[in-house]
């Protein structure tokens, strides 16, 4: 199951710059479920302890989706020190994710 609303996870390492993720999903659609799983796996591998994750369901908080101009779902907004990146899709293409977030420059 997908966590909804805005749980923040996991514990932070205080002295590192963190990447803030906001993942918009649409209910229980397969590609949304895959996006959550793929993002978790990515974070565990590349950003252990250095990320915040907020998962939002467009049907529950459409006003947030409107604010963030979400049309295609699932969609990930990644706030890094170098600006916000938008990644649409189920995040199955790990290479593009790595490239977009550019973890080497994080922190």
């Amino acid at each position: 199951m997908i966590e909804l609303k805005h749980p923040v996870e996991p514990a932070l390492a205080p002295n590192h710059t963190v990447v803030r993720f906001r993942l918009y999903v649409a209910g229980n659609l397969p590609n949304s479920r895959r996006a959550v799983a793929n993002l978790r796996a990515y974070c565990a591998e590349y950003l252990p302890g250095r990320y915040e994750l907020e998962i939002l369901d467009v049907y529950e908080v459409p006003e947030r989706a409107l604010e963030d101009r979400i049309a295609l779902t699932p969609q990930l907004l990644a706030e890094t020190a170098h600006g916000t990146r938008r990644i649409a899709g189920d995040l199955s293409d790990k290479a593009s994710l790595v490239d977009a977030i550019d973890t080497t420059r994080v922190g």
């Binding site: 918009y24 649409a26 209910g27 659609l29 590609n31 949304s32 895959r34 996006a35 793929n38 467009v58 049907y59 459409p62 006003e63 989706a65 409107l66 101009r69 979400i70 049309a71 295609l72 779902t73 699932p74 969609q75 990146r85 938008r86 990644i87 649409a88 899709g89 189920d90 995040l91 199955s92 293409d93 593009s96 994710l97 490239d99 977009a100």
Partner: protein, 558 residues
């Protein structure tokens, strides 16, 4: 089936009420075909006139620009609140990175909240093809289009989806045809814009309308200051023909008598004749009389400048200038107007409305034939007459006979079948005189003189002459009226020729009444008989001389 009126002039007539309410309509057409205007105008009318708020979802255009551009139309866009007409930005983010499968749930969720908040009843997805271009493969496109369709059904919205890519064609980005969209929607509309002889020709066609009858033919339309204006069609629901028994003076008492009281109000009157037969003069006489009665009038000339017309008419004692100065008469020279017959017709309608005209002159009507209409679309001239009739406006128009073969739709003989009154003007060149004639070929619903009348254009205006038929039924014109000194034999032959000529002319009129081309042949025949009479007369005179010479020849023993 419940219909949602678009409010687009003429369109609801061909769609027998409007778009299917609570269902989806697909509007297809190339760039510049008018899809966005069609969709936006439907929302504007919904919000403004029918109490149905709407959302315009922009996949391609900047909503701010779109709004600005739409200000150019006289829709009162500024007076429509955001809660009644919402422009929704949905252009793809160019910097967005793609990673795997996506769907459009985010868009639908946001729109759903907006629909509830506004109480929206109408929605437009403008340039859906742009959104679909974001999709990786045909299966995803199909899935998402169905998702959209299901959502629209669930929401019960009257929706318009526009696409500049024909769904039956492969898309420029290599996707296979999306013709399933056509099967999915309840109504499908094609818009087309092409350049014919340098004039823009727009057409709309409804290719499918589930559960409703509709006008299947391609129908011309124009885009003007009011938005889209779809051509007026015979028998459409708005074509309420106002039958009026009220007579209006033709401006000439004698012509009033010939028509037993003048033209009917709301009638269409056609003057035909070769150049120089005083067609414009008769139009101006009518208009001047109308202005004197206090009726606002419109004079549209496709041949001359305003001041030229006024000056020329002054030479026959018709002064339009005071009426122009008082604001009763509006003269428009459409000579410089570019565009199709459709555009001219729209211009005439707009001018007539602005001016509050009850009488219109179109000189000549054949100018409206510059339309690229093909196939079954009714002629522009005919639609103008129908429109005027539905508004109770009296239209006087002229048509030159000599352009008959150049025209494809404003043929006098074709217009003459729908005109209520048809008056033919002609002249004979005889003994160095130009003798003008007027004949009322038809006058629907009125008694009328079947006598061919002679008239003269004098500096005091049109003067009809008493008919002289002393030559045994033939109408004597000009110097023929003078004393004639001819041998009884010549007179007899002339009478025979005259009888034959008169019979030919009568036959001609009968043929004209039937709207047949035979009239021209009959006139030709009349001329031939005249020529023959002259030839015979000459031969006879020569014969007399021969006979007188014969005795001399005998004496010489030849």
């Amino acid at each position: 089936m419940k219909k949602a009126a678009t409010g687009i002039r003429g369109f609801d007539d061909i769609a027998l009420g409007g778009l299917p309410a609570g269902r989806t309509t697909l509007v297809q057409g190339g760039a510049g075909a008018g899809k966005t205007i069609f969709a936006l105008e439907t929302l504007v009318h919904g919000a403004r006139d029918f109490g149905e708020p709407g959302i315009f979802v922009c996949f391609e255009e900047d909503p701010t620009h779109l709004r600005e551009n739409a200000q150019a139309f006289h829709w009162g866009l500024d007076g429509i609140a955001e809660k009644d007409l919402h422009f929704f930005e949905a252009r793809p983010d160019r910097d967005m990175i793609r990673s795997g499968d996506v769907d459009i749930s985010g868009l639908l969720a946001v729109l759903q909240a907006l629909v509830k908040q506004m109480g929206a009843k109408r929605i437009v997805f403008d340039a859906l093809d742009m959104l679909l271009a974001e999709m990786a493969n045909p299966d995803v496109i199909r899935r998402e289009v169905h998702r959209l369709n299901d959502w629209l059904h669930e929401m019960g919205l009257t929706a318009i989806i526009t696409s500049k890519v024909y769904v039956t064609d492969s898309s420029p980005w290599g996707h296979p045809p999306m013709d399933f969209i056509e099967f999915m929607v309840d109504c499908s509309i094609m818009l087309r814009n092409e350049i014919v002889n340098g004039a823009s020709q727009r057409h709309v066609r409804i290719s499918k309308y589930r559960g409703s009858a509709f006008q299947e033919n391609e129908t011309p339309f124009v885009v003007g200051a009011q938005g889209i204006d779809v051509a007026f069609i015979h028998g459409s629901s708005k074509a309420v023909i106002l039958e009026s028994a009220e007579r209006m003076s033709t401006g000439h008492p004698d012509l009033d008598d010939m028509l037993e009281g003048g033209y009917f109000r709301g009638a269409s009157i056609l003057f035909t004749g070769y150049p120089g037969t005083a067609k414009t003069t008769f139009c101006a006489t009518f208009i001047a009389a109308a202005c004197l009665r206090g009726e606002k009038s419109l004079f549209i000339s496709f041949v001359s400048r305003e001041d030229e017309i006024v000056r020329n008419l002054q030479s026959v004692s018709i002064d339009l200038k005071p009426h122009i100065d008082s604001g009763m008469l509006r003269m428009v020279s459409a000579r410089a107007l570019r565009g199709s017959g459709e555009t001219h017709m729209l211009t005439i309608r707009t001018l007539a409305h602005e001016h509050g005209a009850t009488c219109i002159v179109t000189d000549p009507l054949s100018a409206l034939s510059k339309s690229g209409n093909r196939g079954s679309a009714p002629g522009v001239a005919e639609r103008l007459i129908d429109w005027a009739k539905s508004e109770g406006i009296t239209v006087i128009c002229t048509s030159r006979l000599d352009d008959a073969d150049q025209l494809d739709e404003a043929r006098p003989l074709q217009i003459s079948t729908i005109a209520d009154t048809w008056i033919h003007l002609s002249y004979d060149l005889h003994a160095g005189e130009r003798n003008r004639r007027l004949s009322i070929i038809k006058a629907r619903g009125t008694g009328h003189s079947n006598q061919v009348q002679e008239f003269a254009l004098t500096d005091a205006g049109v003067k009809f002459k008493d008919v002289d038929t002393s030559a045994g039924g033939d109408m004597l014109v000009g110097s023929q009226r003078g004393p004639r000194e001819r041998s009884a034999d010549v007179v007899m032959r002339e009478r025979e020729a005259a009888d034959a000529r008169e019979a030919a002319r009568m036959n001609g009129e009968i043929a004209q009444l039937e709207g047949g081309i035979a009239v021209l042949n009959a006139q030709l025949e009349a001329r031939r008989l005249e020529a023959k009479a002259i030839t015979e007369r000459t031969a006879e005179q020569e014969g007399d001389t021969e006979q007188e010479r014969d005795p001399v020849r005998d004496l010489r023993g030849d």
